[in-house]
């Protein structure tokens, strides 16, 4: 994950192949059977429906899914940011050994910002336009360091701005968000998130609003900071390319459920779920045959109010019939995908491992553009 270190061969670095989920017990963040429901006028929205995962310090989990897959709702639940009046949250969320679900407002607030922090997609709306950038960062520090005086907080904020690569941090401290460019604003957001040295960082589409050359800078910065602070990172994105670049483990979500989970090598190199196959073969690539047709997933993502019964993906799955009526009646559980190399690789699919291997080899690996 250290991209500041040039590797003379130009090859991607040799990351050790570690099983995706080692003993969850030492993980900094543990989420078990998380369910988030919203009561709306149109009905109950099951935004997250039984999702489990864990992230250790120093590792990055990429959560992938399309709009409405529940990825952002999951992260807001971890941070305790849902309105308790309208939201029902069940399951376990443990941050550094502390339960978040059911914790009072005041207690979650003490965790948030100090032990866990979030980077939002749109830094312009996440920063207050009326206060200087520096003041907002300094305030985030003083909230959790009540003994620090103004000068110390300012110094800390300037140091953080410097650390995230903002030139002339002392001068920038006194500027307003609108005086920052998009990339600089996202750096300032990162500085604010990291000012209290949180062990868990949740980045929700942190680079989606940025241009590619700036995105590359921000992803490098996150990797550097992670190496320095040994933080656990959750990176929420729809971009499989970004996941391949920075994540250690991947969780693929669909219709509020986890459909596949494993190390980045497992999920992107030997994907098991037909939805993951669909995502991979529908993304255009810079390599491979430019004239090959993209292979889209037919249909549209489901409505969370009216999720298809059984496997939520079955109406869009070309293999749904192979699993018989089960695909329409039974929600598949997240189970080990196979043996040997695939230790820790989980998939929620009614197809057998043999069937998946055959379909993948025949229909996916040989066509499309992602290979």
């Amino acid at each position: 994950m250290d991209s500041s270190e040039p590797s003379p061969s130009g090859e991607p670095d040799d990351r050790p192949v570690v099983p995706a989920q080692r003993s969850d017990q030492d993980a900094y963040l543990r989420v078990r059977d998380l369910r988030v429901r919203f009561d709306t006028e149109d009905g109950v929205v099951r935004a997250v429906d039984g999702v489990s995962f864990a992230v250790e310090r120093g590792r990055t989990l990429g959560i992938v899914g399309e709009s409405g897959s529940g990825k952002s709702v999951t992260s807001l639940a971890i941070l305790g940011l849902h309105d308790p009046k309208r939201t029902t949250i069940t399951g376990e969320i443990s941050v550094g050994g502390r339960q978040v679900v059911g914790l009072g407002d005041e207690e979650v607030r003490r965790l948030r910002g100090r032990d866990m922090a979030m980077i939002f997609q749109d830094p312009l709306s996440a920063l207050h336009p009326y206060y200087t950038v520096g003041r907002q960062i300094a305030e985030a520090y003083r909230v959790h360091h009540p003994k620090a005086n103004r000068r110390e907080a300012r110094q800390r904020a300037v140091d953080m701005l410097d650390r995230v690569g903002i030139p002339q941090p002392a001068r920038r401290f006194d500027q307003y968000p609108h005086e920052f460019s998009g990339g600089m604003r996202q750096r300032a957001m990162i500085a604010m998130s990291l000012v209290n040295d949180p062990a868990l960082l949740i980045a929700d589409e942190p680079t989606t609003a940025l241009d590619v050359t700036v995105q590359a800078q921000i992803l490098d910065l996150l990797a550097d900071l992670q190496a320095e602070f040994n933080s656990a990172i959750i990176l929420i994105t729809h971009d499989l390319g970004v996941v391949g670049q920075v994540a250690d483990d991947v969780l693929v979500m669909y219709g509020g459920r986890a459909v596949e989970r494993g190390s980045v090598e497992q999920v992107l190199r030997a994907p098991q779920h037909p939805y993951t196959w669909g995502l991979l073969s529908s993304v255009p690539s810079l390599h491979g045959d430019a004239d090959a047709d993209l292979v889209p997933i037919p249909g549209n993502p489901p409505s969370l109010i009216n999720l298809p019964p059984g496997c939520a993906f079955h109406p869009r799955c070309r293999y749904a019939d192979r699993a018989g009526s089960r695909s329409r009646t039974e929600v598949p559980e997240l189970r080990p995908a196979g043996e040997g190399d695939s230790a820790g690789h989980l998939v929620a699919c009614h197809l057998s491992a043999e069937e998946r291997a055959t379909f993948y080899a025949e229909d996916i690996a040989s066509v499309g553009v992602a290979r």
Binding site: S9, G244, P301
Partner: protein, 354 residues
């Protein structure tokens, strides 16, 4: 296919005055002297980062914006400053697809009315009647013709984009300007729309100016590609030239920055530092020089012309293009990341000739 271009753009510029009160205090050179051709049936991609002027260019091509200078010739006619009446017959042959499938459809009109609108405005009476033609168009873009009477809110984002495409096709245009037609869509839906546009382009022999920031999508759609930076084209060429033999440092940096799903781990060897400078006050000489690792004195004083290299169709606006004898070695010194330098210089983390 003839060699006579369908669209000929020369010296096209758009400058927006910046006012404070009544006084003009500056000029945003959003587009500053573009030259390019599009032949019949050809797909040209306009790519670049935000603020490079690609959208402004697209809007000038369909004359939603008035060019400040330069000329646009369409099918042999000069349309740079054509008036409303002159434009009307022309709009039949020159259509646009917008980025936002939510904002570009009137929510109070049925799909049938939206798609029929161009026919009615132009007083065209198709042989089988308007309704039959609209249903034919809906079918062509993969929508159910029975949904003629539905409203836009009843459709998903991808379906709405199809409605926009059906509307653009209603008058059998020769050229379609597509401004980021898939960037607002989910990935699985993006592929559906890209495939649809590709099929239509082939079946109907349409020419496209395809505006996008996503170079991977452009690679799958366009035969030729123009890379823009701060209002200018820095490189133009066939797809294979641009993606496999990019000669402009900016094109190389842009390609290198894209996280590609086929590559795991930290990818990309070139890192540009800083952001794109403001078009209010673009750098002198070569506009990319403030972020370029090859910049020399000449780059600050002389603007490089877009000139063809190797006698081919690829043209590059650079004093030190790739693959030339006078190749400067990139610097990768760590001190160029110092905060003072970070905003104005470029750094190559590592560079390996591929």
């Amino acid at each position: 296919m003839t060699d006579e271009p369908l669209l000929r753009v020369r010296g096209l510029s758009k400058h927006f005055p910046v006012r404070q009160g009544l006084r003009a205090t500056g000029l945003v050179r959003a587009v500053d002297g573009l030259d390019f051709d599009v032949r019949p049936g050809e797909t040209l991609g306009l790519v670049g980062e935000s603020g490079c002027g690609k959208t402004t260019t697209g809007r000038m091509l369909v004359r939603l914006l008035e060019p400040t200078s330069g000329s646009i010739e369409f099918d042999g006619r000069d349309i740079t400053h054509a008036g409303r009446r002159e434009l009307r017959p022309l709009r039949q042959e020159l259509q646009i697809i917008f980025q936002d499938p939510y904002a570009s459809l009137n929510p109070r009109h049925t799909v049938g009315r939206i798609v029929a609108m161009p026919l009615q405005v132009n007083g065209i009476k198709p042989p089988g009647g308007i309704k039959a033609r609209v249903q034919e168009l809906l079918e062509l873009v993969g929508l159910n013709p029975e949904h003629y009477n539905r409203y836009p809110h009843e459709f998903s984002g991808g379906q709405r984009q199809r409605i926009g495409i059906a509307r653009a096709l209603a008058l059998r245009p020769k050229l379609i300007v597509a401004d980021e037609p898939v960037s607002a869509l989910d990935v699985s839906i993006q592929a559906q729309v890209v495939n649809l546009l590709r099929d239509l382009q082939r079946e109907l022999g349409l020419a496209f100016v395809f505006i996008a920031h996503d170079l991977a999508v452009v690679r799958h759609f366009c035969q030729r590609v123009a890379v823009m930076y701060l209002g200018r084209i820095v490189e133009i060429g066939d797809r294979a030239d641009i993606y496999e033999r990019p000669q402009h440092p900016y094109t190389r940096a842009l390609l290198s920055a894209i996280p590609d799903v086929t590559q795991l781990g930290p990818a990309g060897r070139i890192r540009l530092t800083g952001d794109v400078p403001t078009p209010l006050d673009p750098p002198s000489g070569c506009r990319f020089r403030t972020r370029c690792w090859k910049a020399q004195d000449i780059c600050a004083t002389e603007e490089p012309a877009l000139i063809p290299r190797d006698g081919g169709s690829q043209a590059t606006a650079c004093h030190f293009p790739e693959g030339e004898a006078a190749r400067t070695s990139p610097e990768g010194e760590a001190d160029s990341t110092s905060p003072e330098a970070a905003e104005s210089t470029a750094q190559v983390v590592e560079e390996v000739p591929s």
